[in-house]
Symmetry: D2
Protein backbone atom coordinates (compact mmCIF):
# COMPACT_ATOMS: atom_id res chain seq x y z
CA UNK A 1 0.00 0.00 0.00
CA UNK A 2 1.37 3.35 -1.05
CA UNK A 3 1.58 6.31 1.29
CA UNK A 4 -0.89 9.12 0.68
CA UNK A 5 1.11 12.24 1.36
CA UNK A 6 -0.15 15.57 2.59
CA UNK A 7 1.95 18.63 1.93
CA UNK A 8 2.51 21.71 4.06
CA UNK A 9 4.84 24.51 2.97
CA UNK A 10 6.74 26.78 5.34
CA UNK A 11 9.84 28.94 5.34
CA UNK A 12 12.86 28.20 7.54
CA UNK A 13 12.96 30.95 10.18
CA UNK A 14 16.05 32.88 11.20
CA UNK A 15 15.61 31.76 14.78
CA UNK A 16 15.64 28.15 13.60
CA UNK A 17 19.24 28.44 12.39
CA UNK A 18 22.29 27.79 14.55
CA UNK A 19 25.89 28.91 14.24
CA UNK A 20 26.66 26.05 11.85
CA UNK A 21 24.67 28.20 9.41
CA UNK A 22 21.87 25.63 9.02
CA UNK A 23 18.53 24.84 10.64
CA UNK A 24 19.13 23.26 14.05
CA UNK A 25 18.09 19.61 14.23
CA UNK A 26 15.52 20.11 17.01
CA UNK A 27 13.34 22.18 14.68
CA UNK A 28 12.60 19.15 12.52
CA UNK A 29 10.50 17.80 15.40
CA UNK A 30 8.50 20.98 15.33
CA UNK A 31 8.14 20.68 11.53
CA UNK A 32 7.00 17.05 11.86
CA UNK A 33 4.45 18.24 14.42
CA UNK A 34 3.16 20.89 12.01
CA UNK A 35 3.01 18.22 9.31
CA UNK A 36 0.79 15.91 11.35
CA UNK A 37 -1.37 18.79 12.62
CA UNK A 38 -2.06 19.76 9.01
CA UNK A 39 -2.53 16.11 7.98
CA UNK A 40 -5.18 15.79 10.72
CA UNK A 41 -6.83 19.07 9.69
CA UNK A 42 -6.96 17.87 6.09
CA UNK A 43 -8.60 14.63 7.31
CA UNK A 44 -11.27 16.68 9.10
CA UNK A 45 -9.76 16.54 12.59
CA UNK A 46 -8.72 19.74 14.40
CA UNK A 47 -6.08 18.73 16.93
CA UNK A 48 -7.09 21.79 18.94
CA UNK A 49 -10.56 20.26 19.37
CA UNK A 50 -9.20 16.87 20.37
CA UNK A 51 -7.39 18.51 23.27
CA UNK A 52 -10.51 20.44 24.28
CA UNK A 53 -12.26 17.04 24.49
CA UNK A 54 -9.53 15.83 26.83
CA UNK A 55 -7.53 13.75 24.34
CA UNK A 56 -3.76 14.01 24.13
CA UNK A 57 -1.51 12.47 21.48
CA UNK A 58 2.04 12.47 22.86
CA UNK A 59 5.05 11.02 21.09
CA UNK A 60 6.04 7.47 22.04
CA UNK A 61 9.06 7.25 19.83
CA UNK A 62 10.67 8.99 16.92
CA UNK A 63 13.47 8.45 14.48
CA UNK A 64 14.90 10.81 11.95
CA UNK A 65 17.56 10.67 9.25
CA UNK A 66 19.30 13.86 8.18
CA UNK A 67 20.51 13.99 4.55
CA UNK A 68 21.12 17.63 3.74
CA UNK A 69 20.84 20.72 5.91
CA UNK A 70 17.97 23.16 5.54
CA UNK A 71 19.09 26.79 5.43
CA UNK A 72 17.58 30.09 6.45
CA UNK A 73 14.70 31.30 4.27
CA UNK A 74 14.49 28.03 2.34
CA UNK A 75 11.01 27.07 1.22
CA UNK A 76 10.39 23.76 2.90
CA UNK A 77 7.66 21.25 2.11
CA UNK A 78 6.76 18.89 4.93
CA UNK A 79 5.17 15.72 3.51
CA UNK A 80 3.21 13.67 6.03
CA UNK A 81 1.48 10.30 5.73
CA UNK A 82 -0.34 8.18 8.29
CA UNK A 83 1.24 4.75 8.03
CA UNK A 84 -0.67 2.88 10.72
CA UNK A 85 -3.39 3.38 13.33
CA UNK A 86 -5.48 1.53 15.87
CA UNK A 87 -7.93 2.60 18.57
CA UNK A 88 -4.92 3.22 20.82
CA UNK A 89 -2.12 4.34 18.54
CA UNK A 90 -1.14 6.34 15.46
CA UNK A 91 1.96 6.26 13.30
CA UNK A 92 3.22 8.86 10.84
CA UNK A 93 5.96 9.09 8.27
CA UNK A 94 7.55 12.36 7.14
CA UNK A 95 9.72 13.78 4.43
CA UNK A 96 11.16 17.28 4.68
CA UNK A 97 12.17 18.65 1.30
CA UNK A 98 13.54 21.92 -0.08
CA UNK A 99 11.42 23.27 -2.90
CA UNK A 100 11.61 26.35 -5.10
CA UNK A 101 10.10 29.61 -3.97
CA UNK A 102 6.66 28.06 -3.81
CA UNK A 103 5.25 30.40 -1.21
CA UNK A 104 4.28 32.71 -4.03
CA UNK A 105 1.92 30.12 -5.56
CA UNK A 106 -0.63 29.62 -2.82
CA UNK A 107 -2.41 26.77 -4.57
CA UNK A 108 0.63 24.59 -3.93
CA UNK A 109 0.11 25.14 -0.25
CA UNK A 110 -3.41 23.81 -0.39
CA UNK A 111 -2.30 20.41 0.79
CA UNK A 112 -3.83 17.79 -1.47
CA UNK A 113 -2.32 14.35 -1.56
CA UNK A 114 0.83 14.67 -3.60
CA UNK A 115 3.93 12.77 -4.52
CA UNK A 116 6.88 14.18 -2.62
CA UNK A 117 9.12 16.35 -4.81
CA UNK A 118 12.07 18.65 -4.21
CA UNK A 119 15.42 17.93 -2.54
CA UNK A 120 15.14 15.47 0.34
CA UNK A 121 16.61 16.99 3.51
CA UNK A 122 15.33 14.66 6.21
CA UNK A 123 12.91 11.80 6.71
CA UNK A 124 11.51 10.13 9.78
CA UNK A 125 8.70 8.35 11.56
CA UNK A 126 6.85 8.98 14.79
CA UNK A 127 4.57 6.81 16.90
CA UNK A 128 1.89 8.26 19.16
CA UNK A 129 -0.53 7.03 21.77
CA UNK A 130 -3.95 8.41 22.66
CA UNK A 131 -4.14 9.46 26.30
CA UNK A 132 -6.82 11.12 28.40
CA UNK A 133 -6.35 14.15 30.65
CA UNK A 134 -5.12 11.89 33.46
CA UNK A 135 -2.38 10.76 31.09
CA UNK A 136 -3.89 7.24 30.91
CA UNK A 137 -4.37 5.28 27.65
CA UNK A 138 -7.60 6.15 25.85
CA UNK A 139 -9.36 4.11 23.18
CA UNK A 140 -10.63 6.58 20.63
CA UNK A 141 -13.15 4.14 19.14
CA UNK A 142 -14.95 4.62 22.48
CA UNK A 143 -14.09 8.20 23.45
CA UNK A 144 -14.09 9.85 20.02
CA UNK A 145 -15.79 7.46 17.54
CA UNK A 146 -16.16 10.17 14.89
CA UNK A 147 -12.39 10.70 14.91
CA UNK A 148 -11.83 6.97 14.65
CA UNK A 149 -14.24 6.83 11.71
CA UNK A 150 -12.39 9.63 9.91
CA UNK A 151 -9.09 7.78 10.34
CA UNK A 152 -10.68 4.58 9.03
CA UNK A 153 -12.09 6.34 5.99
CA UNK A 154 -8.72 7.89 5.28
CA UNK A 155 -7.00 4.51 5.55
CA UNK A 156 -9.49 2.91 3.16
CA UNK A 157 -8.93 5.65 0.59
CA UNK A 158 -5.24 4.83 0.74
CA UNK A 159 -6.06 1.19 0.03
CA UNK A 160 -8.08 2.21 -3.01
CA UNK A 161 -5.21 4.05 -4.61
CA UNK B 1 3.11 60.48 8.96
CA UNK B 2 1.06 57.33 9.08
CA UNK B 3 2.62 53.89 9.29
CA UNK B 4 2.48 51.78 6.16
CA UNK B 5 1.87 48.30 7.44
CA UNK B 6 2.90 45.04 5.88
CA UNK B 7 1.01 41.90 6.84
CA UNK B 8 2.24 38.36 7.30
CA UNK B 9 -0.07 35.56 8.41
CA UNK B 10 1.02 32.50 10.36
CA UNK B 11 -0.46 29.90 12.68
CA UNK B 12 0.60 29.57 16.33
CA UNK B 13 2.52 26.29 16.59
CA UNK B 14 2.02 23.69 19.28
CA UNK B 15 5.65 23.98 20.28
CA UNK B 16 5.16 27.70 20.81
CA UNK B 17 2.71 27.12 23.66
CA UNK B 18 3.70 26.71 27.29
CA UNK B 19 1.93 25.10 30.24
CA UNK B 20 -0.07 28.29 30.87
CA UNK B 21 -1.94 27.14 27.76
CA UNK B 22 -0.86 30.16 25.68
CA UNK B 23 1.96 31.09 23.33
CA UNK B 24 5.15 31.68 25.33
CA UNK B 25 6.29 35.31 25.31
CA UNK B 26 9.69 34.59 23.71
CA UNK B 27 7.99 33.54 20.48
CA UNK B 28 6.79 37.08 19.84
CA UNK B 29 10.42 38.03 19.16
CA UNK B 30 10.53 35.33 16.52
CA UNK B 31 7.23 36.59 15.07
CA UNK B 32 8.56 40.18 15.01
CA UNK B 33 11.63 38.85 13.19
CA UNK B 34 9.43 37.11 10.61
CA UNK B 35 7.46 40.34 10.26
CA UNK B 36 10.53 42.43 9.43
CA UNK B 37 11.98 39.73 7.14
CA UNK B 38 8.77 39.79 5.13
CA UNK B 39 8.61 43.60 5.26
CA UNK B 40 12.12 43.69 3.78
CA UNK B 41 11.23 41.09 1.15
CA UNK B 42 8.17 43.13 0.15
CA UNK B 43 10.44 46.20 -0.16
CA UNK B 44 12.69 44.25 -2.53
CA UNK B 45 15.36 43.29 0.00
CA UNK B 46 16.10 39.63 0.75
CA UNK B 47 17.65 39.55 4.21
CA UNK B 48 19.34 36.32 3.20
CA UNK B 49 21.26 38.22 0.53
CA UNK B 50 22.24 41.01 2.89
CA UNK B 51 23.98 38.45 5.07
CA UNK B 52 25.71 36.88 2.08
CA UNK B 53 27.08 40.37 1.35
CA UNK B 54 28.46 40.52 4.88
CA UNK B 55 25.81 42.76 6.42
CA UNK B 56 24.20 41.92 9.75
CA UNK B 57 21.23 43.65 11.35
CA UNK B 58 21.21 42.71 15.04
CA UNK B 59 18.75 44.05 17.60
CA UNK B 60 19.86 47.03 19.65
CA UNK B 61 16.77 47.29 21.78
CA UNK B 62 13.24 46.08 21.93
CA UNK B 63 10.08 46.70 23.85
CA UNK B 64 6.84 44.80 23.78
CA UNK B 65 3.43 45.15 25.39
CA UNK B 66 1.29 42.08 25.88
CA UNK B 67 -2.50 42.62 25.82
CA UNK B 68 -4.09 39.23 25.23
CA UNK B 69 -2.52 35.81 24.92
CA UNK B 70 -2.23 34.03 21.58
CA UNK B 71 -3.36 30.41 21.71
CA UNK B 72 -2.42 27.25 19.85
CA UNK B 73 -3.58 27.09 16.24
CA UNK B 74 -4.72 30.73 16.21
CA UNK B 75 -4.34 32.50 12.91
CA UNK B 76 -2.00 35.37 13.66
CA UNK B 77 -1.33 38.41 11.52
CA UNK B 78 1.98 40.14 12.16
CA UNK B 79 1.79 43.77 11.00
CA UNK B 80 5.16 45.46 10.50
CA UNK B 81 6.08 49.03 9.64
CA UNK B 82 9.45 50.75 9.30
CA UNK B 83 9.20 53.84 11.50
CA UNK B 84 12.67 55.29 11.04
CA UNK B 85 15.95 54.63 9.26
CA UNK B 86 19.34 56.14 8.57
CA UNK B 87 22.54 54.87 6.94
CA UNK B 88 23.42 53.22 10.24
CA UNK B 89 20.12 52.22 11.83
CA UNK B 90 16.61 50.89 11.26
CA UNK B 91 13.52 50.98 13.46
CA UNK B 92 10.38 48.88 13.20
CA UNK B 93 6.98 48.83 14.84
CA UNK B 94 4.84 45.70 15.14
CA UNK B 95 1.31 44.65 15.94
CA UNK B 96 0.44 41.01 16.50
CA UNK B 97 -3.26 40.33 16.01
CA UNK B 98 -5.55 37.32 16.07
CA UNK B 99 -7.62 37.06 12.91
CA UNK B 100 -10.23 34.62 11.65
CA UNK B 101 -9.20 31.47 9.82
CA UNK B 102 -7.55 33.51 7.09
CA UNK B 103 -5.05 30.85 6.06
CA UNK B 104 -7.68 29.49 3.71
CA UNK B 105 -7.81 32.75 1.73
CA UNK B 106 -4.31 33.01 0.35
CA UNK B 107 -4.80 36.46 -1.12
CA UNK B 108 -4.90 37.87 2.40
CA UNK B 109 -1.42 36.53 2.94
CA UNK B 110 -0.06 38.43 0.01
CA UNK B 111 1.18 41.22 2.20
CA UNK B 112 0.11 44.54 0.69
CA UNK B 113 0.07 47.59 2.86
CA UNK B 114 -3.01 47.26 5.03
CA UNK B 115 -4.64 48.76 8.04
CA UNK B 116 -4.19 46.44 11.00
CA UNK B 117 -7.37 44.54 11.85
CA UNK B 118 -8.27 41.68 14.18
CA UNK B 119 -7.83 41.42 17.95
CA UNK B 120 -4.68 43.13 19.20
CA UNK B 121 -2.55 40.66 21.18
CA UNK B 122 0.78 42.44 21.43
CA UNK B 123 2.59 45.46 20.06
CA UNK B 124 6.19 46.53 20.15
CA UNK B 125 9.13 48.29 18.57
CA UNK B 126 12.66 47.22 17.74
CA UNK B 127 15.79 49.16 16.84
CA UNK B 128 18.58 47.67 14.76
CA UNK B 129 22.05 48.62 13.68
CA UNK B 130 23.88 47.67 10.47
CA UNK B 131 27.10 45.80 11.19
CA UNK B 132 29.71 44.17 9.01
CA UNK B 133 31.09 40.65 9.42
CA UNK B 134 33.61 41.90 11.99
CA UNK B 135 30.65 43.10 14.03
CA UNK B 136 31.61 46.76 13.42
CA UNK B 137 29.13 49.51 12.41
CA UNK B 138 28.49 49.65 8.68
CA UNK B 139 27.02 52.56 6.71
CA UNK B 140 24.72 51.02 4.13
CA UNK B 141 24.67 54.14 1.93
CA UNK B 142 28.30 53.18 1.23
CA UNK B 143 28.29 49.38 1.47
CA UNK B 144 24.87 48.64 -0.01
CA UNK B 145 23.61 51.80 -1.79
CA UNK B 146 20.86 49.91 -3.62
CA UNK B 147 19.42 48.75 -0.27
CA UNK B 148 19.62 52.29 1.06
CA UNK B 149 17.80 53.53 -2.05
CA UNK B 150 15.01 50.99 -1.60
CA UNK B 151 14.52 52.08 2.01
CA UNK B 152 14.41 55.73 0.92
CA UNK B 153 11.85 55.03 -1.77
CA UNK B 154 9.75 53.15 0.72
CA UNK B 155 9.91 56.02 3.20
CA UNK B 156 8.89 58.53 0.53
CA UNK B 157 5.88 56.42 -0.39
CA UNK B 158 4.84 56.57 3.23
CA UNK B 159 5.09 60.35 3.14
CA UNK B 160 2.84 60.43 0.09
CA UNK B 161 0.04 58.56 1.80
CA UNK C 1 17.01 52.26 47.24
CA UNK C 2 19.59 49.93 45.80
CA UNK C 3 18.68 46.76 43.94
CA UNK C 4 19.37 43.50 45.74
CA UNK C 5 20.54 41.21 42.99
CA UNK C 6 20.20 37.47 42.80
CA UNK C 7 22.57 35.57 40.56
CA UNK C 8 21.98 32.47 38.44
CA UNK C 9 24.71 31.00 36.24
CA UNK C 10 24.09 29.06 33.02
CA UNK C 11 25.92 28.18 29.85
CA UNK C 12 24.79 29.41 26.43
CA UNK C 13 23.50 26.36 24.57
CA UNK C 14 24.35 25.46 21.00
CA UNK C 15 20.68 25.51 20.07
CA UNK C 16 20.45 29.06 21.38
CA UNK C 17 22.85 30.33 18.70
CA UNK C 18 21.78 31.51 15.26
CA UNK C 19 23.66 31.83 11.99
CA UNK C 20 25.02 35.25 13.02
CA UNK C 21 27.20 33.13 15.33
CA UNK C 22 25.69 34.58 18.51
CA UNK C 23 22.85 33.75 20.90
CA UNK C 24 19.54 34.63 19.25
CA UNK C 25 17.74 37.55 20.91
CA UNK C 26 14.61 35.54 21.82
CA UNK C 27 16.63 33.44 24.27
CA UNK C 28 17.17 36.42 26.54
CA UNK C 29 13.48 36.25 27.43
CA UNK C 30 13.98 32.66 28.48
CA UNK C 31 17.06 33.68 30.51
CA UNK C 32 15.10 36.51 32.18
CA UNK C 33 12.41 33.94 33.03
CA UNK C 34 15.00 31.63 34.60
CA UNK C 35 16.36 34.64 36.50
CA UNK C 36 13.01 35.47 38.08
CA UNK C 37 12.16 31.82 38.77
CA UNK C 38 15.42 31.51 40.72
CA UNK C 39 14.86 34.91 42.39
CA UNK C 40 11.46 33.64 43.57
CA UNK C 41 12.94 30.32 44.72
CA UNK C 42 15.61 32.18 46.69
CA UNK C 43 12.84 34.27 48.30
CA UNK C 44 11.10 31.08 49.38
CA UNK C 45 8.52 30.94 46.58
CA UNK C 46 8.43 27.99 44.17
CA UNK C 47 6.77 29.26 40.99
CA UNK C 48 5.75 25.67 40.31
CA UNK C 49 3.64 25.72 43.48
CA UNK C 50 2.06 29.06 42.63
CA UNK C 51 0.72 27.55 39.43
CA UNK C 52 -0.55 24.47 41.28
CA UNK C 53 -2.53 26.89 43.49
CA UNK C 54 -4.06 28.42 40.38
CA UNK C 55 -1.93 31.57 40.18
CA UNK C 56 -0.35 32.70 36.92
CA UNK C 57 2.19 35.50 36.46
CA UNK C 58 2.21 36.41 32.77
CA UNK C 59 4.26 39.21 31.23
CA UNK C 60 2.54 42.54 30.76
CA UNK C 61 5.44 44.33 29.16
CA UNK C 62 9.12 43.98 28.61
CA UNK C 63 12.02 46.01 27.36
CA UNK C 64 15.54 44.93 26.67
CA UNK C 65 18.76 46.62 25.58
CA UNK C 66 21.41 44.58 23.80
CA UNK C 67 25.03 45.71 24.29
CA UNK C 68 27.24 42.79 23.30
CA UNK C 69 26.32 39.40 21.89
CA UNK C 70 26.51 36.25 24.00
CA UNK C 71 28.29 33.39 22.26
CA UNK C 72 28.02 29.61 22.37
CA UNK C 73 29.36 28.00 25.53
CA UNK C 74 29.81 31.34 27.33
CA UNK C 75 29.27 31.24 31.06
CA UNK C 76 26.41 33.64 31.62
CA UNK C 77 25.29 35.15 34.92
CA UNK C 78 21.69 36.34 34.99
CA UNK C 79 21.27 38.97 37.72
CA UNK C 80 17.69 39.59 38.79
CA UNK C 81 16.17 42.10 41.19
CA UNK C 82 12.56 42.80 42.13
CA UNK C 83 12.13 46.54 41.65
CA UNK C 84 8.49 46.96 42.59
CA UNK C 85 5.47 44.97 43.69
CA UNK C 86 1.87 45.33 44.85
CA UNK C 87 -0.94 42.90 45.57
CA UNK C 88 -1.65 42.86 41.83
CA UNK C 89 1.69 43.35 40.09
CA UNK C 90 5.42 42.55 40.14
CA UNK C 91 8.32 44.21 38.39
CA UNK C 92 11.81 42.85 37.78
CA UNK C 93 15.08 44.20 36.47
CA UNK C 94 17.75 42.04 34.82
CA UNK C 95 21.36 42.13 33.79
CA UNK C 96 22.86 39.40 31.63
CA UNK C 97 26.64 39.27 31.92
CA UNK C 98 29.44 37.12 30.57
CA UNK C 99 31.64 35.79 33.34
CA UNK C 100 34.71 33.56 33.47
CA UNK C 101 34.34 29.82 33.51
CA UNK C 102 32.47 30.00 36.81
CA UNK C 103 30.56 26.77 36.35
CA UNK C 104 33.51 25.00 37.94
CA UNK C 105 33.16 26.93 41.21
CA UNK C 106 29.77 25.82 42.45
CA UNK C 107 29.64 28.25 45.37
CA UNK C 108 29.30 31.11 42.90
CA UNK C 109 26.12 29.52 41.62
CA UNK C 110 24.53 29.57 45.00
CA UNK C 111 22.71 32.79 44.32
CA UNK C 112 23.19 35.14 47.24
CA UNK C 113 22.64 38.82 46.78
CA UNK C 114 25.64 40.08 44.86
CA UNK C 115 26.83 43.08 42.97
CA UNK C 116 26.66 42.37 39.25
CA UNK C 117 30.08 41.69 37.76
CA UNK C 118 31.39 40.49 34.41
CA UNK C 119 30.84 41.94 30.95
CA UNK C 120 27.38 43.43 30.49
CA UNK C 121 25.65 41.84 27.48
CA UNK C 122 22.04 42.89 27.94
CA UNK C 123 19.77 44.53 30.49
CA UNK C 124 16.03 44.84 30.75
CA UNK C 125 12.89 45.07 32.81
CA UNK C 126 9.66 43.12 32.87
CA UNK C 127 6.28 43.81 34.45
CA UNK C 128 3.89 41.02 35.45
CA UNK C 129 0.35 40.71 36.70
CA UNK C 130 -1.10 38.08 38.99
CA UNK C 131 -3.96 36.21 37.31
CA UNK C 132 -6.13 33.29 38.37
CA UNK C 133 -6.87 30.19 36.28
CA UNK C 134 -9.69 32.03 34.52
CA UNK C 135 -7.08 34.57 33.41
CA UNK C 136 -8.68 37.27 35.63
CA UNK C 137 -6.70 39.63 37.91
CA UNK C 138 -5.92 38.12 41.31
CA UNK C 139 -4.93 40.00 44.48
CA UNK C 140 -2.28 37.87 46.13
CA UNK C 141 -2.69 39.54 49.51
CA UNK C 142 -6.06 37.72 49.52
CA UNK C 143 -5.36 34.55 47.54
CA UNK C 144 -1.79 33.82 48.65
CA UNK C 145 -1.05 35.95 51.78
CA UNK C 146 2.08 33.95 52.62
CA UNK C 147 3.55 34.79 49.19
CA UNK C 148 2.64 38.43 49.67
CA UNK C 149 4.36 38.39 53.10
CA UNK C 150 7.53 36.90 51.61
CA UNK C 151 7.65 39.64 48.96
CA UNK C 152 7.12 42.30 51.66
CA UNK C 153 9.91 40.88 53.81
CA UNK C 154 12.20 40.82 50.82
CA UNK C 155 11.39 44.44 49.98
CA UNK C 156 12.07 45.55 53.55
CA UNK C 157 15.44 43.84 53.53
CA UNK C 158 16.28 45.85 50.43
CA UNK C 159 15.35 49.04 52.29
CA UNK C 160 17.67 48.09 55.13
CA UNK C 161 20.68 47.80 52.91
CA UNK D 1 31.53 -3.64 27.01
CA UNK D 2 29.62 -1.51 29.45
CA UNK D 3 28.77 2.11 28.77
CA UNK D 4 30.72 4.69 30.74
CA UNK D 5 28.16 7.35 31.50
CA UNK D 6 28.73 11.02 32.03
CA UNK D 7 26.14 12.96 33.95
CA UNK D 8 24.92 16.53 33.50
CA UNK D 9 22.17 18.00 35.66
CA UNK D 10 19.78 20.73 34.54
CA UNK D 11 16.34 22.03 35.42
CA UNK D 12 13.41 21.87 32.98
CA UNK D 13 12.68 25.46 31.93
CA UNK D 14 9.25 27.03 31.79
CA UNK D 15 9.72 27.82 28.12
CA UNK D 16 10.41 24.15 27.47
CA UNK D 17 6.88 23.17 28.51
CA UNK D 18 3.91 23.06 26.16
CA UNK D 19 0.18 23.22 26.78
CA UNK D 20 0.06 19.49 27.52
CA UNK D 21 1.74 20.58 30.78
CA UNK D 22 4.96 18.68 30.04
CA UNK D 23 8.31 19.37 28.38
CA UNK D 24 7.87 19.49 24.61
CA UNK D 25 9.55 16.60 22.79
CA UNK D 26 11.86 18.81 20.70
CA UNK D 27 13.72 19.91 23.82
CA UNK D 28 15.11 16.42 24.33
CA UNK D 29 17.28 16.99 21.27
CA UNK D 30 18.66 20.08 22.93
CA UNK D 31 19.25 18.10 26.15
CA UNK D 32 21.01 15.34 24.20
CA UNK D 33 23.19 18.03 22.64
CA UNK D 34 24.07 19.44 26.06
CA UNK D 35 24.83 15.89 27.18
CA UNK D 36 27.34 15.25 24.41
CA UNK D 37 28.89 18.73 24.75
CA UNK D 38 29.55 18.00 28.42
CA UNK D 39 30.71 14.46 27.62
CA UNK D 40 33.24 15.96 25.19
CA UNK D 41 34.32 18.61 27.72
CA UNK D 42 34.84 15.90 30.34
CA UNK D 43 36.96 13.99 27.80
CA UNK D 44 39.11 17.08 27.31
CA UNK D 45 37.51 18.32 24.10
CA UNK D 46 35.82 21.73 23.96
CA UNK D 47 33.32 21.56 21.13
CA UNK D 48 33.65 25.33 20.84
CA UNK D 49 37.31 24.88 19.91
CA UNK D 50 36.56 22.14 17.38
CA UNK D 51 34.36 24.59 15.49
CA UNK D 52 37.01 27.30 15.65
CA UNK D 53 39.34 24.80 13.96
CA UNK D 54 36.78 24.32 11.20
CA UNK D 55 35.31 21.01 12.33
CA UNK D 56 31.56 20.43 12.46
CA UNK D 57 29.76 17.45 13.97
CA UNK D 58 26.22 17.46 12.60
CA UNK D 59 23.61 14.81 13.30
CA UNK D 60 23.24 12.02 10.77
CA UNK D 61 20.42 10.21 12.49
CA UNK D 62 18.65 10.07 15.78
CA UNK D 63 16.11 7.93 17.55
CA UNK D 64 14.38 8.54 20.82
CA UNK D 65 11.94 6.64 23.02
CA UNK D 66 9.69 8.59 25.37
CA UNK D 67 8.65 6.78 28.58
CA UNK D 68 7.42 9.42 31.00
CA UNK D 69 7.03 13.16 30.54
CA UNK D 70 9.42 15.63 32.13
CA UNK D 71 7.65 18.49 33.89
CA UNK D 72 8.48 22.13 34.59
CA UNK D 73 11.18 22.68 37.21
CA UNK D 74 12.09 18.98 37.40
CA UNK D 75 15.73 18.26 38.12
CA UNK D 76 16.88 16.31 35.10
CA UNK D 77 20.04 14.26 34.76
CA UNK D 78 21.22 13.71 31.19
CA UNK D 79 23.44 10.61 31.04
CA UNK D 80 25.62 10.38 27.94
CA UNK D 81 27.94 7.64 26.71
CA UNK D 82 30.00 7.37 23.54
CA UNK D 83 29.09 3.98 22.08
CA UNK D 84 31.20 3.97 18.93
CA UNK D 85 33.65 6.10 17.00
CA UNK D 86 35.94 6.10 13.99
CA UNK D 87 38.01 8.73 12.23
CA UNK D 88 34.86 9.76 10.38
CA UNK D 89 31.98 9.16 12.79
CA UNK D 90 30.79 9.27 16.40
CA UNK D 91 27.86 7.61 18.11
CA UNK D 92 26.26 8.48 21.44
CA UNK D 93 23.66 6.95 23.70
CA UNK D 94 21.55 8.97 26.14
CA UNK D 95 19.28 8.51 29.10
CA UNK D 96 17.21 11.39 30.45
CA UNK D 97 16.13 10.81 34.04
CA UNK D 98 14.22 12.74 36.69
CA UNK D 99 16.20 12.96 39.92
CA UNK D 100 15.53 14.57 43.31
CA UNK D 101 16.36 18.20 43.91
CA UNK D 102 20.03 17.56 43.22
CA UNK D 103 20.83 21.07 42.08
CA UNK D 104 21.49 21.94 45.70
CA UNK D 105 24.36 19.43 45.93
CA UNK D 106 26.80 20.74 43.36
CA UNK D 107 29.17 17.80 43.71
CA UNK D 108 26.58 15.64 41.95
CA UNK D 109 26.82 17.94 38.96
CA UNK D 110 30.52 17.37 38.62
CA UNK D 111 30.01 14.77 35.95
CA UNK D 112 32.13 11.74 36.78
CA UNK D 113 31.28 8.45 35.21
CA UNK D 114 28.21 7.18 37.02
CA UNK D 115 25.58 4.52 36.79
CA UNK D 116 22.32 6.10 35.64
CA UNK D 117 19.83 6.51 38.48
CA UNK D 118 16.48 8.24 38.90
CA UNK D 119 13.25 7.81 36.93
CA UNK D 120 13.85 7.06 33.25
CA UNK D 121 11.98 9.60 31.10
CA UNK D 122 13.55 9.09 27.68
CA UNK D 123 16.42 7.30 26.02
CA UNK D 124 17.96 7.56 22.60
CA UNK D 125 20.95 7.36 20.31
CA UNK D 126 22.50 9.75 17.83
CA UNK D 127 25.05 9.29 15.06
CA UNK D 128 27.29 12.10 13.88
CA UNK D 129 29.77 12.71 11.11
CA UNK D 130 32.85 14.93 11.14
CA UNK D 131 32.66 17.60 8.44
CA UNK D 132 34.89 20.50 7.49
CA UNK D 133 33.76 24.08 6.89
CA UNK D 134 32.86 23.23 3.29
CA UNK D 135 30.49 20.64 4.71
CA UNK D 136 32.62 17.79 3.31
CA UNK D 137 33.61 14.66 5.29
CA UNK D 138 36.69 15.15 7.45
CA UNK D 139 38.93 12.44 8.94
CA UNK D 140 39.85 13.62 12.40
CA UNK D 141 42.83 11.28 12.70
CA UNK D 142 44.34 13.61 10.05
CA UNK D 143 42.79 16.98 10.83
CA UNK D 144 42.67 16.80 14.62
CA UNK D 145 44.89 13.91 15.78
CA UNK D 146 44.86 15.07 19.41
CA UNK D 147 41.06 14.85 19.45
CA UNK D 148 41.22 11.40 17.90
CA UNK D 149 43.75 10.35 20.57
CA UNK D 150 41.48 11.58 23.36
CA UNK D 151 38.57 9.58 21.97
CA UNK D 152 40.77 6.49 21.71
CA UNK D 153 41.98 6.85 25.29
CA UNK D 154 38.43 7.25 26.46
CA UNK D 155 37.35 4.13 24.59
CA UNK D 156 40.19 2.09 26.08
CA UNK D 157 39.23 3.17 29.58
CA UNK D 158 35.76 1.84 28.87
CA UNK D 159 37.25 -1.49 27.88
CA UNK D 160 39.18 -1.63 31.14
CA UNK D 161 36.11 -1.31 33.30
Amino acid sequence: MKNVWHQHVLRARYQETDQMGVVHNANYLSWFEIGRTEWLRNTGIAYRKLESWGLLLPLVDLNIQFRQPARYDDCIAVFTAMTDFSAARLQFEYEVRRIGDALTSPDIQAGQAVTPYGELLASGTSRHMWLNREWKPARIDKTAPEVYALLQTNKQQQGDE
